[in-house]
């Protein structure tokens, strides 16, 4: 297996099954053990060209818990970008100040361009509608922690599968673990064809359905995503879809799920997932959100060469 030291974390497509499993094992170690001075003397630059409170904070917490320090910004208005500076110039200057860059950007591929431009490691914290690999790692970590395995699971993806990048990346990652997939969405929010082609190239068994009642297998995992009102030109269409794509306890009673079935959601939710589900054994989405810290600790430690 290629070492993670000095690697960029840009896309889940860059990782083999063995490397993914290694990162998840490291994450478990970070959750169970304290590593107070692991990154002492190291400096992380959090470059958030668009706001994202939770991802930014969880990187900051992860770095500080390991004894490292954090600089950065979280809005475009305070950067030289507004003066017309190119992204490449900005990051080439900033690499002189720090040991690792964490980048969030509104343009797809901005993290890859950054990684190509600097010699220090770069972690993609989300670029446009494209990749958000640390979210995928924490989704996988949550599944492994709550189900015990990643192999041979039956996974439903529910809601906005057209724009939901976390669902796309998770599907691609789970393809390496022989998952069977159900894509449950309204016709206007179906998973893009190019992602289905990716899955077909990996011989994944999948089915697209419009209703959760049409899933003809007991699910291990349901990965919910938020349906955003602004995606609909016609508000009437949105209201129709919103009513159908709402997960409640009574819906779960009517569909086939395994006894250790779990619901994940990248959050925030609006009303696609009823709060009555929060107290059930199925709900692991808050645990999932908290997994962001050990997973990012593992990635920072490994990329900076402090974890073997």
């Amino acid at each position: 297996m290629r070492s993670l030291k000095d690697r960029d974390i840009i896309s889940i497509l860059d990782f083999t099954k063995e490397e993914i499993s290694y990162v998840l094992d490291l994450s478990k170690r970070m959750e169970e053990e304290e590593h107070i001075n692991l990154l002492k003397g190291k400096l992380l630059a959090n470059l958030f060209f668009e706001p994202s409170t939770r991802t930014r904070l969880s990187f900051e917490v992860a770095m500080k818990r390991l004894g490292g320090e954090v600089i950065g910004f979280d809005e475009l208005g305070t950067t030289s970008t507004v003066k017309g500076e190119s992204l490449r110039d900005s990051v080439k200057i900033i690499e002189g100040y720090c040991d690792i860059i964490v980048l969030r950007h509104f343009l797809e591929g901005a993290s890859r361009l950054t990684a190509d431009s600097v010699s220090i490691p770069v972690i993609n914290a989300g670029d446009g509608a494209s990749q958000h690999p640390t979210q995928t790692f924490l989704d996988l970590y949550t599944i492994k922690n709550t189900k015990g395995v990643l192999e041979d699971l039956s996974v439903g993806f529910f809601g906005d599968l057209k724009y939901g990048r976390t669902a796309h990346s998770l599907a691609i990652a789970l393809a390496q673990f022989n998952a069977r997939m159900y894509f449950i969405s309204p016709p206007s929010l179906r998973i893009p064809k190019d992602y289905l082609e990716e899955l077909e190239a990996r011989n994944v068994t999948y089915k697209e359905v419009e209703s959760i009642y049409d899933v003809n297998e007991e699910l291990d995992i349901l990965y919910c995503t938020r349906i955003q009102k602004e995606r609909f030109a016609d508000p009437v269409e949105y209201e129709k879809v919103r009513g159908v794509y709402k997960l409640t306890k009574s819906v779960l009673d009517e569909i086939k799920v395994k006894s250790d079935f779990k619901i994940l959601h990248p959050l925030p939710r609006v009303d696609e997932m009823d709060e009555s589900l929060d107290s059930t054994n199925y709900a692991v989405y808050f645990q999932q959100a908290h997994s962001g810290v050990p997973v990012r600790e593992a990635l920072l430690g490994a990329v900076l060469g402090a974890l073997q």
Binding site: R88, F106, L107, E108, G109, R112, L113, E197, A201
Partner: protein
């Protein structure tokens, strides 16, 4: 005797077996409008292999590897003949490369390569039919999705 549909050149390159509809795309790649010497272009010529084919003959030009790579993506069946003293000195089939730079613009308007001063880069993920993945935004696209430059 076989009738020559497009006349010969003395020294240069012949690109044959181009799918007819792709002929002018290949001509654009080679920027034939900027060439001062003889350029012969034929389209809708009969071909056993393609049904209808295009052919381009350029006097005094040898192709760069970058040009050959681009032609291979647009016209994967194309053959190249190097002409010396009005004879075919060498002839070979184009080979689709594993990756390519600068062939055209990524079709994703939100891709960083369409907003910053960077050359587009693609990985060839399927050769028949040709499918490319943008190095930056990772979107998959066919060759027809790309605006060639």
């Amino acid at each position: 005797m076989k009738k020559m549909e497009v006349s010969t050149i003395e020294e240069g390159t012949v690109i044959d077996q181009i799918a007819s509809k792709s002929t002018f795309k290949v001509a654009n790649i080679l920027k034939i409008q900027d060439i001062n010497q003889v350029v012969l272009v034929g389209v809708n010529l009969s071909s056993k292999k393609l049904g209808k084919k295009g052919i381009i003959k350029i006097e005094g030009k040898s192709l760069t590897q970058e040009e050959v790579n681009k032609i291979a993506l647009i016209a994967p069946d194309a053959t190249l003949s190097i002409i010396e003293n009005s004879e075919v000195a060498r002839k070979f089939q184009v080979i689709i490369p594993d990756s390519i730079e600068g062939i055209g613009k990524c079709f994703n308007p939100n891709c960083v390569s369409n907003h910053q001063q960077v050359q587009s880069r693609f990985k060839v993920i399927n050769k028949n039919p040709v499918k490319l993945r943008c190095h930056y935004c990772e979107r998959r696209m066919g060759i027809d999705d790309i605006e060639l430059v």
